[in-house]
Symmetry: C2
Subunit: 152 residues, 2 copies
């Protein structure tokens, strides 16, 4: 299974991690440069999860960068299990957070502008879309890593 492109310690994995971090940070910024998100549980959930995804992705991006540019360490099954578990949990949570905030945004928008202005609504939408993209990349990472772990 050495030909699979994305597991921990490769440049593809580094690209995936950086993408996750960028999308999570932009989702967080779209949501947080504004104070009204405290009123909605779904938006608070999204902010919490994005606040968890960012340090996780950045840490693993550092590991990948070290592995690509300096020296490739041997992959230990124990550490891989922790990475796979964390990836899975975070990707599930970010899927849940992004879909719930997307549906809440949809509901707020459908209620005809009485709960959010057009600018605010499109900001919520952008935030949910960024969270979806971050979930997608995180799912790709976790699939590659799970596959690597299972074939170790």
């Amino acid at each position: 299974m050495d030909e699979l492109p994305g597991p921990l310690g490769t440049s593809a994995s580094l690209a995936l991690r950086l993408g996750q971090a960028i999308f999570s940070i932009s989702s967080l910024l779209f949501m947080c440069l504004d104070v009204e998100f405290y009123s909605y549980t779904a938006f608070c959930f999204l902010v919490t999860i994005m606040g968890l995804v960012i340090p996780w992705s950045l840490t693993l991006a550092l590991v990948d960068a070290f592995s690509v540019f300096v020296k490739r360490p041997t992959i230990q099954p124990g550490i891989m299990s922790i990475v796979v578990m964390g990836d899975w949990v975070l990707s599930m949570l970010s899927l849940a957070a992004s879909s719930s905030s997307a549906s809440v945004t949809d509901l707020l928008k459908a209620s005809g502008g009485s709960f959010c202005t057009a600018k605010l609504c499109s900001r919520y939408q952008l935030s949910a879309a960024m969270a979806f993209l971050s979930w997608f990349l995180s799912l790709a990472s976790s699939l590659f890593n799970l596959w690597l772990l299972a074939s170790l």
Copy 2:
């Protein structure tokens, strides 16, 4: 990896599939024995996804029952890939559907009973909870099957 309890064709898998079917059916019933769900995109999404999960789980439950009670067929990687793909897609979709309907229910409930009566709100909540349980069992099935596929 023969000691893993849940892949396709075992009695544990049969139990998981039956649980998925039961929880999806109850989620669908809690949502559909009522006509107001058409107004909310998240609830329509939940109904659609549950309508996909039910035939999928029942079909695979039949396969499992045949395999347990009649004759165990040899597992072919091609068929297993299709099963794993379908399981993954459905479990992702049901997580998204259940979390979005849970957040919409929460928002409707927080708005103080002007959009749904207390009885209707608790019914939406029960439906979302059943969808979460169905997602959890479907995640377990797909993890077991993916693990089996990777170790084939």
